[in-house]
């Protein structure tokens, strides 16, 4: 089997690459490891794209200029980013949507409960799976060959140049190749290796849940890094990681397993003690740090505790909370030491300085004389019924990846490959060294998927001309 461009992966970045390469005139084969029903990787769980825009644009209100987007990224990554690639991503996000629409993606105004990103994020109507479906339909219509259940085990590289990929004993050659096969978050062994053992003797990652696909095993990522010595970027413990309902399934729990009531109550660990300021900032700005916070707690477990006053003020959770008519009863139902729990709650309740509660603003309700402090939305937890939600870290995707440049080339010994490119989670760590801001994963995947597809087609078609002339 021989094609111009081989795309390995089946999510947003892979599809963007395949579509761009096909539009440029290359023959394209896309290999998706998952069966058709599970296609699309983590993209099927996404919901929006963070977009730069200088003026209101269809579903996007006001403006979100390049500089502000960049500052947001700088802040969440703590500087662990590549400004050139970040700005490239940001600029690309301002122009890609017409192309996306041409391939069947529909945008809509923000969902209820997500108005806080009405200015910065364009929502996909129906979410990421609708986007993935649209891209596959468009790809098939344009003549992209798609194979499901086609996991690539290894690739052949000679002098930094892609030669062929091996799928279940079949050797597939191509003039150029795009790697867009995701991070390694679904690989439990690798997570264990990366996170190691903590001072308590626990293997923290054993308690992690994976919010997305089970197919991101990182086979090619490891193969490229270890067997081919590709240049690497990022730390294997860095990931998009949030605190989710501990009852979520091991894989594919997606958005609905989030717990949005943290800032309305307190969070304790298995020792029934608080460990972080629950009211530091708006939840949408803080949810992405709570995965790591919970990962650092004993048993990698936390408990979000609220009272009746919070009900109806946060997005309804997928599983009902543990409900009790008194706080000691709640502690007992959650399996927490009631005495410690009551001390924690009594201390907190006594420390609350309630001003004018407003969960839609950074209000003046705060604590005094308790550590850690709760700096906003601090109200005593005193109104039955009480609810508790057990939390565990939920990994969305890992940031360890292949180092790249503005051509999306894979690099070996700091030299770019002519014909091997990378996009999506496999290189997101170039832009996201740590932290996260909503919708930026899709911005990176779309920008670099399109670049990788274009570059791969360019190389493949030039090669074709060379061959024809030879």
């Amino acid at each position: 089997m021989n094609v111009d461009v081989l795309v390995i992966g089946g999510g947003n970045a892979a599809l963007c690459a395949a579509l761009m390469a096909r539009e440029a005139g290359a023959s394209v084969l896309l290999l998706e490891a998952a069966p058709r029903v599970w296609r699309g990787g983590n993209s099927a769980h996404t919901r929006n794209l963070r977009c730069m825009h200088d003026a209101p644009q269809d579903v996007l209100i006001e403006a979100y200029p390049e500089e502000e987007f960049w500052q947001d990224l700088l802040k969440v990554t703590g500087g662990l980013t590549n400004e050139k690639l970040a700005r490239l991503t940001i600029r690309a996000s301002s122009t890609c949507r017409d192309w996306m629409r041409r391939h069947g993606v529909h945008f809509q105004p923000p969902l209820s409960g997500a108005l806080h990103v009405a200015r910065t994020n364009a929502f996909f109507m129906g979410g990421g799976k609708a986007l993935v479906n649209a891209y596959y339909r468009s790809a098939e219509k344009l003549g992209v060959q798609v194979r499901y259940e086609a996991p690539v085990e290894r690739i052949e590289i000679k002098d930094g140049r892609f030669q062929a990929a091996w799928v279940q004993g079949e050797r597939i050659t191509a003039r150029a190749c795009v790697l867009a096969a995701g991070g390694f978050e679904s690989n439990r062994d690798w997570l264990r290796e990366a996170w190691g053992q903590n001072a308590r003797g626990e293997w923290p990652s054993d308690n992690f849940l994976i919010r997305g696909t089970r197919f991101n095993q990182g086979v090619l990522l490891r193969h490229l890094l270890d067997d081919h010595g590709a240049d690497r970027i990022g730390d294997p413990t860095q990931a998009h990681m949030v605190a989710i309902d501990a009852r979520a399934p091991l894989y594919d729990g997606g958005i609905c397993t989030r717990i949005d009531c943290v800032s309305l109550g307190v969070v304790v660990n298995t020792e029934a003690r608080r460990f972080y300021d629950e009211g530091e900032d708006f939840w949408p700005k803080r949810y992405a740090i709570w995965g790591r916070l919970v990962a650092q707690q004993p048993g990698q477990t936390g408990y979000s505790i609220i009272d009746a006053k919070a009900v109806g003020r946060f997005m309804p959770p997928v599983f009902p909370g543990v409900k009790a008519d008194s706080l000691p009863e709640l502690a007992q139902k959650l399996g927490l030491d009631a005495a410690t729990f009551m001390q924690t709650l009594n201390d907190y309740n006594a420390a609350c300085r309630v001003g004018t509660f407003d969960h839609t603003a950074l209000d003046d309700c705060h604590t005094e004389g308790v550590t850690p402090a709760k700096t906003h939305w601090a109200r005593p937890i005193d109104t039955a019924p009480f609810y508790g939600y057990a939390l565990k870290p939920g990994v969305t995707f890992t940031y360890l990846g292949l180092k790249t440049d503005d051509t999306a080339a894979v690099r070996f010994g700091d030299q770019p490959s002519d014909n091997l490119f990378v996009a999506g989670e496999m290189m997101a760590g170039n832009v996201l060294g740590k932290g996260y801001t909503a919708g930026v994963g899709m911005s990176i995947g779309t920008a670099f998927g399109r670049i990788a597809g274009t570059q791969a087609a360019k190389f493949a078609l030039n090669q074709g001309v060379l061959h024809a002339n030879a």
């Binding site: 409960g113 799976k129 958005i255 969960h359």
Partner: protein, 390 residues
Amino acid sequence: MQTLEALTRDARALANGAVVLTAPETEVARQLQICNACRYCEGFCAVFPAMTRRLEFGKADIHFLANLCHNCGACLHACQYAPPHEFAVNVPQAMATVRGQTYVDYAWPPALGRLYQRNGLTLSLALAAALALFLLLALAANGTLWGGKSEGGFYALFPHNLLVGLFAPVFLWAVLALGLGVRRFWREVTPATTGQPVSAPAAAEATHDVLRLKYLDGGHGEGCNNADDAFTLARRRAHHLTFYGFLLCFAATSVATVYHYVFGWTAPYDLPSLPKLLGAVGGVSLLLGTAGLFKLNLQRDPQHGDAAQKPMDLGFIALLFLTSASGLALWLGRGTPALAALLAVHLGAVMALFATLPYGKFAHGIFRTAALLRHAVEKRQPNTLALGAD
């Protein structure tokens, strides 16, 4: 097996006067709890925005939402939790199952609600009986089904008063039964949808949504799903042809009635008379629309809707098709010896159609219109929830 424990719990709850959800209702409530935590599908239709106004789903909420659902399939194909995901979310199917149950529950008189459950059989028997009736009547009046005194026109075979005497009670019964059924539905869902009365703007919006079949446009105008994840306007168009075709045929009959009683002009009418014009256009439209709907129904993704209701859907479509086809055949064959047979078949089809209207697929239009009207009322009221992120 439904466990003894669950049955005992339900029995206790019933004894305490609590409202017990049926298994299909419980399934809708379970799925909506997941949907309400996700909300990706809000842009597709009215169901999801209505859902976000609620944190819990009681019986009346579920009945309301189930009838608001148009079974367009968009949310199933877009769903990250659809089977084989362990959450097994299939909203169109769960809603369709409850919808079928509501038709039975709200049927008037209640005893006839079970006609929905074996609706294929109901329609077949009704059709067979109605055909037999008219064929025998024709035979009795004409002596033969082929030729005979057909030159004398329809009324030589079936006196006008006989037809009125047969059809008027059946039609009035259908109107009464559907009216009483939907009244019960309305009374149950009104308190669950703010309880506010219908305003003119709400009525106008609901009328618009019904007449344009707004919620088969996919939210983006490219249509709903049918065979797969691709969008198509075919279903909406075929339904329009069917719906407006039916209305035109009905208008033709109504105008003819006025002609007969007010002006004393008796049938048959020919082109370019108004009844014939309405009937011809309506008949062709109904024929094309039902043919389209039948084909689309067979091509439908098997995950859409409730498989148990397929005979009801197809039976109703087939009966409408037969009505329009026999009507058009009657027009074309009126000067031939086949008139008596054609007339008997057409009248039999129409009779079966009207007799089964309150206990078949037709009810969906009535209940969905009521749900859309309640939705239009509810969405105009302030939302009592204040979710943090907003």
